[in-house]
Symmetry: C2
Subunit: 322 residues, 2 copies
């Protein structure tokens, strides 16, 4: 018993995994950044019985509490099945983010879960090695194992998914001066639906324009150039197809630009929208203009989140044991 | 007469415009860098008779000496017709680069020409304003006003053509540590032919992979990361179509990688190929392996150029008047 305790078999952790802005407009499926808030929380501790004991606490409807359908439980199961620790895990997902927000809600749950499981292992994996489990949560949630939300939620910063086959995620060095305004209207867009309406083929000219913008986006993030980043959020591939899923999209975008945003488009597949600002002061003005436009043109209330890039990603807090 | 001389009406200039590596693999039509050598030279001076008096000096065949067909004369005409100075220009193009080399030969001629004309004006335009004239040389040469050679030859450094409509060229800040190996085999690929075989449409998945690489290329250039840049030269769009135009392509690429290159593919539309090296020493090894492979598999001799990015672009030298 004393030996067991020195190895902290009953230790417990609380993990916060942040929301993310994927795509950033032109960087469809390849770019994502972590922001400070919102995020999902997982609390977990070891139990002697092997396997997963899973529950959900949330105010949001539509969050599956059944472990078979919840992404957090799914990825925890995958990890436990593969790594086979000699103990089990009791896990509670505090689901704070609504599903279908465009802020990487499923990614935050998956990341919080894998980071929590990892923190409880005797020999935790390097954080990057958790990516392959976390993307499986995305596959379950939307049918596609896209990594542009899970990577920044897990690793923090700006992540470039250079390749999916094999998965190659690059953390881009940035000058973290740009202020990101995120407005989440009380609407739901299913990632699955948003992916289905994407075109299967692109004219070469359209693709060239998109990768010109991706290059500018990356260069602008590296140098902290809000004007360049804003301009390069221009998305000639996904925005056209997806904007119609978000009532008020065009009016909100126009309001943001008029209020001084350097660029504005969908966060992920929407309905949340983000804008690029040069300062906190500008960000406040822009967020007001955007929420006002959503209220007026879509008749929905919004949450607003303003932050620089969250360079830390998921955070682990050890909970003192009684 | 003394007043005229103080305004230097007879001044003469010599302009060197450097070769360029366009595309850099994945950055088809959007990325280009200037290198130190080779390049084209224009010598020009004012004459009292308005209009252009044009001649060519070259060892290369296929270079049109007729002013109606030469890109340098074409862009000089455009500038003179639009700006209408009260004098004319006597211009000699010293055509040092072969046509169809994949090193931006037509761009170097156009750039040297517009920079020379500009240097002779009483009120020269800002250098960036010369881009719109120089791209017209590309339109004449290949049918497409692509800017990924003329921009770096004119401005130096790494240029991103973010947009063609309107033309938006961004000079990317780079850590200039990467060494570029360029091997020019004595073969000719017509840019026009190389463009014609490009696919008109891309599967979305292919386009996403390409813009993931463009993002990595830009990030790697910004931070001076040769390994990242090399990896991201991966080109899933143009290389497949164009490699067959260059005998020995696959063997030369393999030889470069085996000799330590981080990446290797076509410069522009070929036949020249470039490789990414971490040091001058590595570059020497790589260039030997590449020329050997060209000699063995395509039975052609090569020129080799090794340099870092040329941050200056076209250079103007004033010629003392007798």
């Amino acid at each position: 018993m004393s030996t067991q305790q020195s190895r902290a078999p009953e230790r417990a952790v609380r993990v916060f995994a942040p929301a993310t802005i994927a795509n950033l407009g032109s960087g469809f499926d390849v770019l994502g950044i972590a922001i400070d808030r919102p995020g999902d929380v997982v609390v977990a501790h070891r139990i002697s019985e092997p396997g997963l004991n899973f529950s959900v606490q949330t105010e949001h409807q539509d969050v599956p509490s059944d472990a078979r359908h919840n992404v957090a439980a799914h990825v925890a199961h995958l990890m436990l099945n593969q790594l086979r620790p000699r103990f089990g895990i009791q896990m509670t997902l505090h689901k704070q983010m609504p599903i279908g927000s465009g802020l990487g809600s499923s990614a935050a749950s998956s990341v919080a879960s894998v980071v929590a499981v990892n923190a409880l292992l005797d020999a935790p994996l390097p954080r990057r090695d958790l990516l392959r489990f976390a993307v499986e949560g995305e596959r379950k949630a939307s049918g596609a194992p896209h990594a542009d939300n899970v990577a920044p939620s897990l690793l923090g910063g700006v992540c470039l998914i250079r390749s999916y086959d094999p998965l190659d995620v690059i953390s881009i060095r940035v000058r973290n001066t740009i202020v990101w305004v995120v407005v989440h209207p009380h609407l739901v867009v299913r990632t699955h639906d948003a992916r289905r309406i994407m075109p299967r083929h692109l004219p070469l000219k359209v693709a060239v324009r998109q990768w010109g913008n991706v290059g500018g986006l990356t260069a602008g993030l590296a140098s902290g150039d809000a004007a360049l980043v804003g301009k390069c959020t221009e998305d000639v591939v996904a925005e056209l197809a997806r904007a119609d899923l978000v009532p008020g999209f065009h009016e909100v975008k126009r309001a943001a630009l008029q209020a001084g945003a350097h660029g504005c488009t969908l966060s992920g597949s929407g309905p949340s929208m983000f804008a690029v600002a040069s300062s906190m002061r500008a960000a406040m003005q822009i967020s007001k203009a955007m929420t006002h436009a959503f209220a007026r043109h879509a008749r929905v209330p919004c949450e607003v989140y303003i932050s620089r890039v969250n360079m830390h990603g998921a955070r682990v807090y050890t909970i003192p044991q009684r």
